[in-house]
Amino acid sequence: MLDTMFSEDDVIFKKELNSLLDKLLPINWDHYPDETDDFHWELSKKIKLSLSINNWIAPSWPKEYGGGGKEVTKAIILSETMAYRMSPGNDRFATRMIGPTILKYGTSLQKKKILSEITSGKVQWCQGYSEPNSGSDLASITTKGDYNEETETITINGTKIWTTLANRANRMFILVRSLPGSKRHQGLTFVVLDMNNKGITVNPIKNIAGKFSFNEVVLKDVKISSENIIGKLHEGWKIALDLLNFERSGIDYIGWAERCLDDLISYSKKNRLNKYEMIFDSGTFKKSVAILKADLESAKIMTYKAIWKKSVSDDIHMEPSMSKILATEINNKVHDYALEILKDKIGFIDEDPQNNFVQRILNHRLFFVSGGILAGTNEIQKNIIAQRGLGLPK
């Protein structure tokens, strides 16, 4: 519906991207991308390489780093379309977190090395922020990153947790406490590291949908050179926060929600409500779907605005927080409504393997519990909107 926001060139890009995905994804692909699954992982690697050949991994990055050199709308289309198609191969840790952060804070050497590696499609990144005792309160992290002036190395010791895809990743960006005895935001350093370094143990954690999507990462005497520091030593907090604003737009949730709603509409046209009418023909169904659609489109426009604003202005603003809340909530609402329509079909495991839609909606609804939690919980986003955005007292 919001297609009118995009240029003719954007529309062509979307078409070309979709036909590439048509070629690469198995026919009727309707699985949530789960790169912990071997098949999905191989597919993810293949898709990344194909995107790379077209310079589409990061369509809006400068060409010198393998980007597409195009407007930010292309990046929006890429994320939204890949989410809608449920395609693996969109490494958001790389293209939406560390990449833009390096573009802004990295040295020219770091830009060349890290960004070009990302756009080659040959790496997978993960994010080492959260720790067992530091979730919402990121400034309380305790993982040590002791700096040795003589050798110009940092030695990392500590435990990170909930690290998505650490079991697949070969790179990690991580926030460490580099100044011994420092408190809260002071004395933190933002570094990148190779997951093949000695001293890193990855312990998978099973999630409520039964998958091992995230991990505990134990770092014991992991040594890295100072070239891997992004920004300045002990001054990593601002960078770490800025990265979160790149992360939070909620655009994937828009793609997932839209796909679920479209699939629900198709389902409603093929299945009966009762002897006399199809689900689609019921007034209540139409009304509910229409309301969801209106909420979805308005949430979508907020995610576009958040990404656009971040690309044109460096000010701290509340759009990413608002759009993250709106996108994760509408996605859950859409899935909740789908569960309501599927009713008693959802009470069983694998009842009918042919009917993947039911299992998918159920597993997704369980999985999307995480939407309101990761990338800064929705409560924390509300604090940001009230306090940083509206200037209300803390």
Binding site: S140, I346, E379
Partner: protein, 359 residues
């Protein structure tokens, strides 16, 4: 008007807690989902403690508890995520047989109470889906029954099955031994409990297999459904209370920003909302469990709607309050989530009950 739980009822709740609390193991329930094991926490324990006779009159060896008291035990049952045909035995079995055909079924009743017989019923699926009604035919003065029944819970554990059948298009309630029935298909619910689709093929039956008579079949069905719905709601309420307690424990002990999560006002508001929703649903359920009988379908529909809608909301809020830990398999919050999600459509979903309520 009296909202109190009396001393005997408190003791009953405590003893149910004592029997059930050390038997449930979230790890084993998780394992049941993964491996489809036959883990039935609480079932054997309640049987061994004589709980199958809860609703049976003392004259036939039972405890003579009221349905209200039974529903209090169902809350405890739900709290510990217990599994087993407790509602099937107590409601479709003891309560119904005793009320409508005590003398005819006195032997069966005694055997249920002594754990020699176990009852199951697919009534929820039959009643709600309005499908799968086996047919009774008379051939040369003999009666035979044939047909399929789907999603029968705890079938392999059961000695008898109670279900709706039809004879010349009139509904009948039948009790049949399970030993001559074939299993056609096995399926599993969201918590890994086994259900089966069965086929009854020309089983010979007699008057002994009929529950009730030509005039009271509808009344008996309503009686069973109303009581089963309220029992199921009590179980869901118990599960939600466990979610509430787990969440309160967590937010009290988890610290962020140098203070316990429980000290943040927005968290206090959220947990208060959860508590209020559960409290109102529980009061409604407890009140109705005292009032219910066969001709008050609307009461049980009202309660089922309330449970479906309110308890669904509290599980998602509880997940949010837990942060990432609640998203893990091992922590086990998802088991309650699955239970509440699944039970939203067991014994009728909101749409189904809305029609009854507004009829």
């Amino acid at each position: 008007m009296n909202f109190n739980i009396n001393e005997t009822q408190s003791m009953l709740i405590s003893s149910a807690k004592e029997v059930l609390s050390n038997k449930y193991d979230l790890k084993l329930i998780n394992k049941r989902i993964d491996t489809k094991s036959n883990y039935l926490p609480g079932w054997k324990e309640l049987q061994e403690q004589g709980f199958m006779g809860m609703l049976a009159k003392e004259s036939i060896g039972g405890y003579g508890l009221s349905f209200h008291e039974f529903s209090l035990i169902m809350e405890v049952w739900g709290t510990y995520l217990c599994s087993g045909p407790i509602i099937e035995n107590s409601i479709a079995g003891v309560l119904t047989l005793q009320k409508y055909n005590e003398s005819k079924f006195s032997d069966i009743l005694k055997k249920i109470i002594r754990n020699q017989y176990v009852i199951t019923t697919p009534l929820s699926n039959q009643f709600y889906k309005k499908g799968n009604i086996p047919e009774i035919k008379k051939i040369k003065n003999k009666m035979y029954i044939s047909g399929s029944l789907s999603k029968v819970p705890f079938f392999e554990l059961s000695t008898h099955i109670i279900f709706i059948a039809k004879q010349n298009n009139n509904p009948k309630i039948i009790i049949l031994p399970t030993n001559k029935i074939n299993i056609e298909k096995v399926i599993f619910d969201l918590l890994g409990n086994k259900l089966v689709n069965i086929y009854i093929e020309n089983n010979n039956i007699s008057d002994d297999n009929f529950i009730g008579n030509d005039n009271n079949t509808h009344e008996i069905i309503d009686f069973m459904m109303n009581h089963m719905i309220i029992s199921k709601c009590s179980e869901m309420i118990g599960a939600s209370e466990a979610v509430l307690n787990k969440t309160i424990d967590y937010i009290k002990n988890r610290e962020q920003f140098g203070r316990s999560l429980a000290s943040f006002q927005s968290i206090q508001h959220k947990i208060s909302e959860i508590f209020t929703l559960i409290s109102e649903t529980k009061e409604l359920s407890r009140y109705l469990s005292k009032k219910i009988n066969s001709n008050q379908k609307k009461y049980s529909s009202l309660l089922k709607i309330k449970c479906n809608e309110s308890l669904n909301k509290i599980i998602w809020d509880a997940h949010q309050l837990h942060g990432a830990i609640g998203f893990t398999w091992d922590y086990g919050l998802h088991l309650y989530t699955r239970k509440i999600l699944m039970n939203k459509s067991v014994l009728g979903d909101t749409e189904f009950h809305s029609k009854i309520l507004l009829s």
